[in-house]
């Protein structure tokens, strides 16, 4: 009978190392390390999510500088609340929830302030839904890239006119490609509600984007 002297001889050492490696680099582990004062771990978390969060807030607010500011505020809140973080949800759900709340709060602030924007001149004063501007030019464009750019701008503006309760689930689903289950957890609502809102949001967009479809 042979006697095993090292753990490598068992044959599953590489798998074990990989598990350990994955565990130390998971979002939860990084936040645990942040909690104990590891700034590098927090920097790693920021590196993973900064683009996603900035992009998501930008799609929600249609304002890049404001989106960067809110994305930073999101990370500040994550950092401050690291002690209170519970592992019952995925970290991505947690951080997206914070970002969503901040974005919706910003949208409501703007509504109160009634910021004058380029599209604001054409918005109805009776509080009704804003109308999509920039109807497409019927003339053919030479450059396909220009066409794509124009189409993307139009859809971004059209998303910006959606009510916030439809906007967030649509972006999370169609832009970020998240599952209904995760969206429901981020928005703290039921899956059925999420599906219904996404369907209605697409209906609105289809009407606004009819010229491009």
């Amino acid at each position: 009978m042979n006697t095993l002297t090292t753990i490598d001889e068992l044959g599953f050492a590489p798998a074990l190392q990989q598990d350990v490696l994955e565990d130390t680099t998971s979002d939860h582990a990084l936040l645990e390390a942040t909690r104990s004062g590891d700034h590098d771990a927090f920097a790693e978390l920021v590196g993973r999510y900064r683009n996603q969060i900035t992009s998501y807030i930008y799609r929600m607010t249609n304002d890049y500088d404001g989106a960067v500011d809110l994305a930073q505020e999101t990370f500040v809140r994550v950092y401050r609340a690291a002690d209170r973080y519970q592992r019952s949800y995925a970290f991505s759900t947690y951080i997206y929830r914070i970002a969503t709340n901040l974005a919706i709060s910003e949208l409501r602030k703007r509504k109160r302030r009634k910021l004058v924007s380029l599209t604001g001149f054409f918005q109805p004063t009776d509080g009704g839904e804003a109308k999509e501007l920039n109807p497409p030019d019927g003339r053919p464009l030479q450059d396909l890239e220009l066409v794509d750019t124009e189409r993307r701008n139009a859809v971004q503006r059209a998303i910006g006119t959606l009510p916030e309760k439809y906007r967030a689930p649509l972006i999370l689903r169609d832009v970020d490609g998240r599952s209904y289950d995760e969206i429901a957890k981020i928005l703290e609502t039921s899956e059925g509600t999420v599906k219904s809102r996404i369907s209605r949001a697409r209906g609105f967009l289809r009407e606004k984007m009819r010229a491009y479809l």
Binding site: A43, V46, G47, R50, N51, Q52, T54, S55, Y58, R59, Y64, A67, V68, A71, Q72, F75, V76, Y79, R80, D148, R151, R152, V155, Q156, I159, L170, D174, V175, G177, Y180, K195, I198, S199, R202, L205, R206, M209, Y212, L213
Partner: protein, 241 residues
Amino acid sequence: MRKNNCEVVRRELDELMIGEAWSTAATEHLRGCASCREFHEQQTKLRQIVGSLGTIEAPADFDFRLRARLAQSNGSPVYWTFARRGLAVAAMVIVFATGALVVRNVLNQPTGVDQVARQPEVPQPAKPEEPKPLLKGENKQAPAVAGIVDDAPPVVRKNRRLPAEYRKPLTSVDFSSERAELINGAGGVSRAFPIDASLQAIRVSLDDGRGNAKTISVPTISFGSQRIVQSGNQFAPKRDW
């Protein structure tokens, strides 16, 4: 039936991700339904356009700015948490105190429709004064005592709100421990005082503060010598004893 099928198929197509396989029932329906095919094509195109928005990159100095922001706000959250809590507690105390005052004032307001007019001021316990002789013919005012009014009937005001000074709660004044006023003075002062004052009935009106007034009549008090003088000698000076 067909419309129901269209709704079911459209919902199914709507919930699937782009490129995900749909059911055979949906496939068969799409084969025969032109409007659903058109809907599906438009929906797919729309979702492709929305999906093509992609991810926007954060600025290059994002980390630097975030670090500066964290350093700037370091320590302040605890301070602000306590400051906010303190402010909230202070606000609550103020609100409760104001509420209690309002409730107290409301409860102290008289509820009766008819209010009997009372003396506006509640007298303080009278200090014993120096004996003051009463001169003959001097019209001495009776000391103002709460609830004691003259023979005139009490003035009744209907549906009128009394001013604040009248709405003070009633207080009772106990004079039992004080000396009665001495009328019989000394030192070259006339000892005369109106004897016929006792022939008048004393009426005391009491108001309980809720519009109920009671009047107590004290019968005439006379002294034996007074009776003798008045009945025996009709010519005797009437007012002097």
